[in-house]
């Protein structure tokens, strides 16, 4: 299932209907808690699009709450919940704050910028990053195909896909992995 959460709408509903900037930690906490409450109702597996369109500015404190803590919680949650995130509608100003918090938490996430370009941001080793690029380029890849693309042993290819899946950057479906934009 795919769900869409407009951060701007959450901000206006939970904090103040006049605000267009996502700033201050209390604001970030309120927005994150509202998002978590919405996510708690959703069946798994799901891909949730966190949409920053209409958010003029995102400061580090809010990025920490709305991106860092949110993703970190589901990354570390017991039972490996099948919840995947894609961040949409970000500009360079948002990205600076998002990348800083991802680095702090050792997280990575798929981002779609305002022009629709998909990229992976955050911390990920080079091998896993190359594997993600292959999955993203093809939309769907199984270990044998990744083995051919990367020239890596089958065991390594399979392990890298498991890593990407564990980090919620691709989704296992049947015998292969699909990119999150493809899942959408």
């Amino acid at each position: 299932m795919i769900y869409h959460i407009s951060v701007s709408s959450v901000l206006r509903k939970t904090v103040c209907d006049l605000y267009t900037n996502l700033v201050t930690r209390p604001t970030g906490v309120a927005v994150r808690q509202a998002i978590e409450a919405a996510l708690a109702e959703l069946p798994e597996p799901n891909v949730t699009v966190i949409d920053f369109a209409q958010v003029k500015m995102l400061d580090f404190s809010c990025a920490d709450e709305v991106v860092g803590k949110l993703l970190d919680f589901y990354q570390k949650a017991e039972g490996q919940p099948q919840r995947y995130f894609l961040i949409r509608g970000v500009h360079d100003g948002h990205l600076e704050a998002i990348e800083a918090v991802l680095e702090r938490y050792n997280l990575a996430v798929i981002v779609e910028d305002e022009s629709g370009t998909i990229r992976l941001v955050g911390t990920l080793d080079d091998g896993a990053r190359r594997a993600w690029q292959v999955v993203n380029a093809h939309g769907r890849v199984n270990p044998q195909e990744l083995e051919r693309e990367l020239g890596a042993p089958a065991e390594t290819a399979s392990r890298v896909l498991d890593t990407l899946s564990a980090r919620r950057l691709v989704m296992w479906r049947d015998d292969g992995c699909v990119s999150l934009p493809q899942a959408l």
């Binding site: 900037n21 201050t24 003029k56 580090f60 920490d64 860092g68 800083a100």
Partner: protein
């Protein structure tokens, strides 16, 4: 007995130390008269620090403002008198607020910051006014304007999260003849709260080293991004401010207690760390971003 504290003719972050040196030997409950009659110019740091000084006194301080009409009028437009009248016992002429054209150099008049909503308000106001001046007059990249607002948000939040009291913020542009010969935009954020050292000391389980003092607390917070909160996401605000200031060849200085730390760009010759300064409670932050000069 009232002790007269003379405000220098030009009041900025450096010359404000002269004010504090005069104040240091005066007991906190003793009356002081802050005499700014001969002051002709003040930076946003100077104005917000004067209000902060008033908040630190046990007995209400008296104040006489600049005699020069032009200076007094500018301080009025910058919002100084609005709050000075609440904090000081005012002596002499107090310029009245008049309906007039907004002061174009004042991007944000002196504004109290006490809670999260105040930070939202500051950011919304600066965005509406700063874009044109920062881009067209200081030649900053449009993206730099957004990061400028982010920086402003982070330094204001330090008051809300750490000071345990309210503080002041002001933003102005002016020509910095003394060191640069260029225009600059300056953010000043001052509070009379608990300061960096006490804030970090309040962290649960924190072990203090033998040389723990205001200077070390500033190093920990400003350089190493240490916060009183153990949460891994904390301490990023000042780190982001440092990155922004570095990217735009700016200067960051933070004073707290008896120490002052500065990230000093090439165009300035300030010391990175000053210690054993006359004490002032709280934290006083100044960020200076210079006009971009097109590359030849």
């Amino acid at each position: 007995m009232t002790t007269v504290i003379t405000v220098p003719p030009s009041l900025d972050d450096h010359t404000f130390e002269q004010v504090l040196e005069q104040l240091a030997p005066v007991p906190v409950d003793q009356k002081v008269l802050v005499d700014a009659r001969h002051t002709r110019w003040a930076s946003p740091y100077g104005l917000t620090a004067l209000l902060t000084l008033a908040q630190t006194r046990g007995t209400q301080a008296a104040f006489t403002g600049p005699e020069t009409e032009e200076t007094a009028s500018y301080w009025q437009r910058a919002g100084f008198y609005r709050y000075a009248e609440e904090l000081f016992e005012m002596h002499g002429h107090v310029p009245r607020a008049r309906a007039q054209a907004a002061e174009s150099n004042v991007l944000l008049e002196i504004t109290p910051v006490a809670k999260s909503d105040d930070v939202h308000d500051v950011v919304e106001r600066i965005q509406s006014k700063a874009q044109q001046i920062l881009v067209n007059e200081l030649n900053l990249d449009p993206m730099a304007t957004m990061r400028f607002a982010m920086t402003l948000s982070e330094v204001c939040q330090n008051i809300v999260e750490h000071a345990q009291t309210m503080g002041w913020v002001a933003v102005q542009t002016y020509r910095y003849r003394q060191r640069l010969g260029r225009r600059v935009v300056v953010i000043a954020v001052c509070d009379a709260g608990i300061g960096f050292r006490r804030s970090l000391e309040s962290a649960p389980g924190r072990k203090l080293s033998d040389r723990w003092d205001d200077g070390m607390a500033l190093e920990e917070a400003v350089i190493r991004g240490v916060s009183r909160f153990r949460d891994p996401g904390r301490g990023q605000g000042l780190a982001g401010v440092r990155r922004y200031v570095g990217r735009w060849d700016g200067k960051l200085s933070v004073r707290s207690g008896t120490a002052r730390i500065a990230l000093v760009p090439q165009w300035d010759d300030d010391l990175p760390m000053r210690e054993n300064l006359p004490p002032l409670p709280g934290a006083q932050v100044q960020i200076t971003i210079p006009e971009r000069v097109p590359q030849r």
